[in-house]
């Protein structure tokens, strides 16, 4: 059983984040055991923590709306990776996250999460430098990371309702949007 309950002490930071995100996106559902709701996993706790921070740096919480962390984007990506049948795609993520760590050590002599806020920003800025025409492995990984962060965030409850304030997917009563063609 891959989804068998784990001992309580294995609850890591990512589990807490996933649990928080789950609570945020399903406020009307009765509380369920946190562990049973966890998606399939692929990343290690350290990799997950790194991904979670990267997604939040790409779409942070601001005065308008919560960001990617609150929207559970890393857990969504990890879930997709966990159930994927494409080992090459999974490996690309593992390698990509390792490349981010490597870049951080190269620039600052320490891992990404050990760096200061400014140092993290510097690493991500370097990753994003070739965004429109990525050439290096880390630039290519940034494209993939950004796409999955964007797609995970703007399909989340927070992204759709709080950030975009999307008005559709409702039965309109006749007060239809727009102007008549005259």
């Amino acid at each position: 059983m891959t989804d068998a309950p784990k001992p309580l002490e294995s609850l890591s930071r990512r589990d807490m984040i996933a649990a928080t995100a789950a609570a945020l996106v399903t406020p009307l559902l009765p509380a369920a055991p946190v562990i049973a709701q966890r998606p399939a996993r692929f990343l290690t706790p350290a990799e997950f923590a790194l991904l979670d921070e990267l997604t939040e740096l790409i779409i942070p919480t601001d005065e308008h709306s919560p960001g990617a962390r609150a929207a559970g984007v890393a857990a969504y990506i990890d879930g997709r990776l966990g159930e994927s049948l494409e080992p090459e795609w999974q490996a690309r993520w593992r390698t990509g996250l390792r490349t981010v760590e490597g870049l951080s050590r190269e620039l600052h002599g320490k891992g990404f999460l050990e760096g200061t806020a400014d140092q993290r920003l510097a690493v991500l800025t370097r990753m994003a430098a070739g965004e429109l025409d990525p050439k290096t492995p880390v630039e290519r990984f940034f494209r993939e990371l950004k796409w999955w962060t964007v797609s995970g965030y703007y399909t989340s409850k927070i992204g759709i309702h709080m950030d975009q304030e999307y008005k559709g997917n409702v039965y309109q009563q006749g007060d239809y949007a727009g102007f008549d063609a005259k």
């Binding site: 950004k146 975009q164 008005k167 949007a177």
Partner: protein, 584 residues
């Protein structure tokens, strides 16, 4: 169902054409058997039109192991595209759109349905209703600019009908199924009998006004959607502007958008005269050895592969342009060694469709930062009808093209990956700009050419052991010149309206991309150069009809579904009359 009896008519295929044939013939009192190769799906459960992305485990994506053929794969490889694929299921490019989980049982698995030859993005739906379950809903009429195109520019053949012949049937289709739009009084894009139109948003209103000054038109999407309701049909309801059709590859779980099952087939079944057999893969039109007439259809049960024969006095093919041609070619016999109805040698030839790809994306600066509004609660955005080669003569190409476009807010914000950067500024930019984009892409008429054709591959077979189609089809110089002009005019229209052009697509998409394949068994007055007469009746076999898009003589640049249904209605009126007189 009873296969020992002889039906008045057997129809192969349950899409727009087959559904219409079933409706019209049962209304005339005929006993009809309808064969569909795919399943009858619990379509509302498949579509789940109102499901939020976050309520789906993969945000609407198909399960692991599924793969959609990408533009790049279509470009660098040749069919069969799923050959030796490690994926469990391979779908056409439509299976790569957002919401692929909702159409995975409607689209065919390319692994089961290979084809060979030149590159072609062939989108097929094997399910009751076929592609009408997910069609794009743009419902346009053709005009004498299309039916008499040869008389206008000398190329190809005129249709054996005029607009006046078909207009009463367009009206019947409008009234029976419902269509939304605005009257524009254009001779080249005749108006329908419209129900309530959908609205335009600010960017579209501005473009409409500026285009009027250029002698061009922007009109609200003419949608094959009932916006006021069709009270005679208990299976459908009016459109409530949920926008579900635009967020997905298509489909409408309340059936405001036309689909063949609820619009045509279920009401026909309610007459008590329609027998439906799904999971029935037709592979041959059966011929009476003495008379040479069609006597029925041989088919396999798609699940058990057991072979059956259905007997009927009239055989009607409506399996789609390419599948109907395949079926004619497969039906070889002593009398018809080249395939039934093919004495002309034109079956599979004169294959045409729409060329697409070129288009523009623009930014309306005044809309940046405005509050988010409900812009996608409609079945489509706008349409810019053809304006080329009506009164003018373009030096580089003949025929014309129209644009489909959209703008404003949608559930998923526009232009995210084209917006560089990250962080708070990126997030704010996405939010501020989400409703300020407008885009449109062209659909152009592809010329029918004799050499553009399909035939049967001598080796390759599908999962049921039936020979598959081999494509011999490529865009030509007229299409390439037209595509260049599409880019030029799209830019000039946006610029005239003060819309900043921020993206230009110049590439032509792979042949087949428009999903508007037409013309493999064309109508005509001369049995030597055409397959069918003006009533879609075989010149060679008078109780054989082909009522789908294969009968079209030229592609026009207008989307074909409404014309397919109007023609099928007209032909089936004729068929029923001839049947009553004993002429079939």
């Amino acid at each position: 169902m009873d296969l020992s009896k002889t039906y008045d008519a057997v129809i192969v295929g349950s899409g727009a054409a087959g559904g219409m044939a079933a409706h019209v013939l049962t209304a005339h009192g005929m006993q009809v058997l309808l064969l569909e190769a795919g399943k009858r799906l619990p379509i509302e459960q498949e579509l789940r039109s109102m499901e939020w992305p976050y309520d789906h485990p993969r945000r609407g994506d198909a399960p692991p192991g599924s793969h959609a053929v990408s533009f790049n794969e279509y470009t660098v490889r040749r069919p069969p595209y799923a050959k030796a694929s490690a994926f469990r299921h391979v779908y056409s490019y439509v299976g790569g759109w957002g919401g692929s989980d909702y159409v995975k049982n409607i689209l065919v698995d390319e692994k089961d349905h290979p084809y060979t030859g030149t590159r072609y993005a062939w989108v097929r739906a094997r399910a009751l209703g076929g592609k009408t379950n997910i069609w794009g809903r743009l419902a346009l009429r053709l005009s004498d600019y299309d039916f008499k195109a040869k008389s206008h520019d000398g190329y190809g053949e005129d249709w054996p009908i005029t607009y006046a012949d078909l207009a009463p049937y367009y009206e019947k289709v409008d009234l029976y199924l419902g269509i939304s739009g605005v009257k524009e009084n254009l001779p080249h894009l005749p108006d329908s009998l419209f129900q309530r139109p959908t609205k335009l948003n600010a960017a579209e209103v501005r473009l409409r006004e500026r285009l009027a000054g250029m002698g061009r038109v922007l009109t609200p999407y003419r949608a094959g959607v009932t916006t006021d309701g069709v009270k005679h049909n208990k299976y459908r309801t009016k459109c409530f502007g949920r926008g579900a059709c635009g967020r997905r590859p298509g489909g409408c779980d309340i059936h405001a958008a036309f689909d063949s099952p609820t619009g045509l087939i279920y009401p026909a079944m309610d007459t008590g005269r329609l027998t439906l057999r799904t999971n029935s893969t037709a592979y041959e039109v059966l011929v009476d050895r003495n008379s040479g007439r069609a006597r029925g259809v041989a088919f396999l049960d798609s699940e058990t592969r057991q072979s059956y024969e259905a007997n009927a006095k009239v055989v009607i093919l409506a399996a789609s342009t390419l599948e109907s041609a395949r079926l004619l070619l497969l039906s070889r016999s002593r009398q018809y060694p080249n395939g039934i109805g093919n004495s002309s040698g034109h079956v599979g030839h004169n294959f045409c469709e729409h060329v697409m790809g070129p288009g523009v994306t623009g930014l309306v600066k005044e809309l940046v930062g405005k509050p988010h509004t409900l812009d996608d609660g409609r079945p489509g955005g706008f349409y810019v009808p053809r304006f080329r080669n009506l009164k003018d003569r373009q030096p580089g190409f003949i025929r014309g093209y129209g644009f489909e476009g959209s703008s404003g807010h949608s559930m998923f914000p526009a232009h995210t990956m084209e917006t560089p950067g990250f962080g708070a500024q990126f997030k704010k930019t996405i939010r501020d700009y989400a409703g300020a984009f407008i885009s449109m892409g062209a659909f152009g008429e592809v010329l029918p050419r004799y050499e553009s054709h399909v035939d049967l591959d001598p080796v390759e077979q599908d999962r049921w052991g039936i020979p598959v189609l081999r494509f011999h089809y490529q865009f030509g110089d007229n299409e390439r010149k037209m595509a260049e002009d599409m880019v030029t005019t799209a830019r000039e229209m946006f610029e005239a309206a003060g819309i900043e052009v921020i993206g230009v697509d110049r590439d032509i998409l792979t042949e087949g991309w428009s999903i508007h394949e037409l013309g493999t068994a064309r109508m005509g007055g001369d049995p030597k150069t055409s397959v069918l007469n003006q009533f879609q009746q075989s010149h060679d076999v008078r109780n054989l009809f082909v009522v789908d898009g294969s009968s079209h003589v030229s592609a026009s640049c207008q989307n074909p579904t409404w014309t397919i249904m109007a023609l099928a209605w007209r032909s089936c009126d004729y068929l029923a009359d001839e049947f009553r007189k004993g002429n079939l």
